[in-house]
Amino acid sequence: MPLRGFSLLTLVAIALPFLFPDNYYVTVVGTTAAVHAMLAMSLNLLMGYAGQISLGHAAFFGMGAYSSAILTTRWEWRPLLAMVAGLLLTGVVAYLISRPILRLKGHYLAMATLGFGIIINILLVQTGWLTGGPDGISNIPPLSLLGWQVDSDLRWYGVMSAAALLVLWINLSVVSSRSGRALRALHTSEFAAQTMGIDTTVMKSKIFVLAALLAAAAGSLFAHQQAFVSPGSFSFFFSVELVTMVVLGGLASTYGAIFGAVALTFLPELLVVFEDYEVMIFGAILMLTMIFLPQGFYVAVEQRLGRWWAARQGGA
């Protein structure tokens, strides 16, 4: 498994806080970017490699976040234990819905995942006795790892970057494994994959559960980092934003997903100056990228650089 990109990103993640100490864009926006990168990579496993669209990925992110929030505030569980419980819950739910949902294709799959996401979101709003309703849950205790409190922006930047790198590692190993090859075969042609003896149903459902678990883990960390959760963070719009991150970078490209996540995290920060025009510009960027670079921004640039490099080598 090629690790050049992984090592490079690790170096960048370590170097940034030294190059820009106490910088808002590194420790605060950078931390959010790391959360988004985890989510985008997990969704990319499902969309890019297994070829299954999901418009409800935010639901799994929310399940992880709310499990941690509820268990640590109401029953004073330890954060790590709560995280494990959240992962268990999400894993079971994802497994149960994976079979019927993944039998669907294309628009129908999109609609089913969308419906699932909206149902979970409504449950978060309506079960006020448990989730605090639209107001959410605040005062979530900070994470502590072996007595080390994660209580500053810089520490959170470290934890989230490390978690994102771990997710990247998992992603790269899955993709380069035997299962990864099976997945890519599945994306290219499900029928051909079946004739080669790949159990496509089991394969898809495994990857669905893995993607859900990674999202839930990110959610759990997110809840502790924000110390506050509310249903708005896990809405249909956020699911759409996650799909956008994956597609903007380029489907089936792990680094593309990271690129998309980082770009879409920083874009609103830059668009803030346009105030009311922000929504319009965001929509236009989304539409234009897909029309003119349907393979994704990152992948398109990567391909062009590759071609340019090959031409230079050939010419010399």
Binding site: M47, I53, L55, P100, I101, R103, L104, K105, G106, H107, Y108, A110, M111, A112, L114, G115, F116, I118, I119, I122, L123, V125, Q126, F236, V240, V243, T244, V247, L251, D276, Y277, E278, V279, M280, I281, F282, G283, A284, I285, L286, M287, L288, M290, I291, P294
Partner: protein
């Protein structure tokens, strides 16, 4: 308990009639171009919001404002087809979904800039005094919505079954290449399909705006509901989509009345999931869910 049933049915059919028009628009575009248009809800919003501003702020008489608003929405629909959909022929399902989602966000953004964030209402078309029917009351506007939607559905049915252009659009949806070989101008038919769909959305928005209010982001939920209704009834058949719309309206209204208004959307989507799991072609449809 049965006392409130007639009232719930009236509410359900009224909102269902709106869903039906949006779902019909969905089904027309889906059948003509294999695209699920996530910007369908935005047609509803543009129709209603531009009527509000043309009649209220510019002081035009309501009928003229409605006419202009519908015309504007049709132009938006045709522009969407020409500049976004037609340019991306052959793109994957996911890419197409993102393009139409991008278009819907863009249109919402434009509406926000042009019309602001306030919630708006259109005046009722006729009197606002309710008609009493036993234990239920009915606003004249409820009747306007139901009758208006019914007439439009019949007109669309007539268009597809009995006019040359309608049959040509249908031919394109069966087989584009064959249609082109028969001398049908496929590009033009696609434009007609999007225009028709935008027209239906705009009218739905204008009819319901006196009852349900409107705002720059009113299209999101209506679009999703229309999509659900279309799938509920079967994407392959326009009339199935209409039935799905009315059914979804009734489901929502009855669950709001008898179970909980907070959960009404969740129940709607839950039934949708069950339909997808057990009858993926829709309740009234025959096509399989594998159609991609």
């Amino acid at each position: 308990m049965w006392d409130q049933l007639p009232q719930l049915l009236i509410t359900g059919v009224t909102i269902g009639a709106t869903y039906a028009l949006v779902a019909l628009g969905f089904a027309i575009i889906y059948n003509a171009s294999d695209v699920v248009n996530f910007a369908q809800g935005e047609f509803v919003m543009i129709g209603a919001m531009s009527t509000v501003f043309l009649s209220g702020n510019s002081g035009l008489p309501l009928p003229l404002a409605v006419l202009l608003a519908v015309g504007l929405t049709i132009l938006v629909g045709m522009a969407l087809q020409r500049f976004a959909i037609a340019r991306s022929r052959g793109a994957t399902v996911v890419a197409m979904i993102i393009i139409t989602i991008g278009a819907s966000i863009f249109l919402r953004g434009v509406a926000l800039v042009v019309w602001g964030k306030e919630i708006k209402q259109l005046p009722h078309f006729f009197s606002e005094s309710p008609i009493v029917l036993g234990s239920a009351t009915l606003l004249p506007q409820n009747l306007v919505v139901m009758i208006g939607a019914l007439l439009l559905v019949l007109a669309v049915h007539y268009f597809f079954q009995h006019t040359r252009s309608g049959k040509a659009v249908l031919a394109c949806s069966y087989n584009r290449t064959a249609a082109a070989l028969m001398g049908i101008n496929v590009g033009m038919m696609m434009l007609i399909a999007y225009a028709l769909s935008a027209f239906l959305g705009a009218v739905a928005g204008i009819l319901i705006a006196p009852i349900a209010y409107t705002s720059y982001d009113a299209g999101v939920m209506l679009g999703l509901k229309g999509f659900s209704a279309a799938i509920l009834g079967g994407m392959g058949s326009p009339m199935g989509a209409v039935a799905g719309g009315v059914l979804l309206g009734l489901i929502e209204s009855l669950s709001a009345g008898y179970i909980s208004s907070g959960y009404k959307d969740a129940i709607g989507f839950l039934i949708l999931l069950l339909v997808l799991f057990f009858r993926p072609g829709g309740i009234f449809g025959k096509t399989s869910a594998e159609r991609v």
